[in-house]
Symmetry: C2
Subunit: 211 residues, 2 copies
DNA sequence: GAGATTATGTCAGTCAATGACAGATGACAA
DNA sequence: TTGTCATCTGTCATTGACTGACATAATCTC
């Protein structure tokens, strides 16, 4: 990896860190792009070359997490049912976050704290999920051998799992990296609730009828 | 109702109609507040006294629909299980839309068309749902006699139903009022899918275990 | 080290959104 | 009808997010 790429990555992370620190300190609305750029000693114009909007920098860590999730999901064995594959992929993501780079985990937790505190970001985080939803739907449909356009099932399965991640991650008001554990516990509770509410085979469209 | 109130309501509807027409014609981003205000012959400042943002005017019809839904839900009998109560409340809302004021139905359909065409509005429509979600969760929790803070079930039930409405209303690219029928059909399909996927009694936390 | 790429800074500009104040309009009582 | 009050509206000024254009500076390739 060349110097140019390393420098870009360093600037990107510096912008995220500066933004999160300012958001936590003075609040999201009260922080301006000029201040974020100034803290990293970069022009405001450059900020927008890294992030398309003020929201995007705040949501960058969860957005990265979502990418990791998609990558993990595509690596799950094909014969694993869709819902179990998503649950296991999410467990992998969390584990990597807990055992990997501590800075990355801190960014994720801080980002969640900022999002929980700011309604505008809370809303934006959902937009993020929904924007990427079609990629998940496509992967789920592939596993089911379904047509994502015609069949409602892939969208349903994806939507239910998205709901569970929301139940796990949102409204945690996290303060430190230890809250990652709390999120993991809540996620497992949500998954367990879903598993006892849904009929076996529901995510494959093969529900045994009680005739 | 006094003249002042009637005038306000007329201006509000005129702003919505002008905005929807412009959005459909030139696109959401390409339309400015000045143009919307100009079409109704009010000052831009007045626009913001009716709607807090450009998004809000586009989302006004679905937002009104959500209010109707909450009203219908609170009027469902208490002994009706939460999920059935929500499904029936939604059916009522759609029926009122189809049999009531044709202008109101047209606004709803046009609004959905604009939302489907504009990613920013699509995202914002989700924010709308999530903002109001807690009110739904509270109502569901009341019906279950659950604590909405501790118990995950009310959030789960509300979230699943929210998912179904999304499946019914989104990506319809509606062109006319007749599309209301299409939405209703899709919603029923989604509800049917949920009902055969979920165990009886799931929304009351009383799932018969297969021991 | 020369030349091609790519990143950055500067500048000007658009547009959404807000606060402050003054004037206009409908509500209401005498 | 008229005067008074509350409320609605227009005008003005301002902030801050975001974008396009162009010049400069850094890095990469050979």
């Amino acid at each position: 990896m060349g110097l140019r790429e390393r420098k870009k990555e360093r600037t990107r992370l510096a912008l995220i860190d500066a933004a999160l620190a300012l958001f936590l300190d003075k609040g999201y609305e009260a922080t301006t792009i000029d201040q974020i750029a100034g803290a990293v000693e970069v022009s405001p114009r450059t900020f927008f070359r890294y992030f398309a909007s003020k929201e995007e920098v705040a949501l960058a860590p969860p957005a990265d997490g979502l990418e990791h999730f998609l990558a993990e999901l595509s690596e799950r064995p094909d014969d694993e049912p869709p819902f179990a594959a998503m649950a296991n992929a999410m467990r992998s993501v969390i584990q990597v976050l807990r055992e990997g780079d501590a800075e990355e985990a801190r960014r994720f937790v801080q980002s969640r704290a900022v999002i929980d505190a700011e309604p505008a970001l809370f809303a934006a985080s959902h937009s993020l999920l929904v924007e990427q939803e079609q990629r998940l739907v496509a992967e789920v449909a592939r596993r089911q051998g379904a047509d994502p356009e015609r069949d409602l099932l892939p969208l349903f399965v994806t939507g239910v799992f998205g709901l569970l991640t929301r139940m796990g991650f949102e409204h945690c008001f996290p303060a430190g990296v230890e809250d990652l554990t709390r999120m993991a516990v809540r996620l497992e509770e949500a998954i367990a609730l879903a598993e006892r509410s849904l009929c076996p085979g529901w995510d494959l469209g093969r529900v045994p009828q009680v005739s």
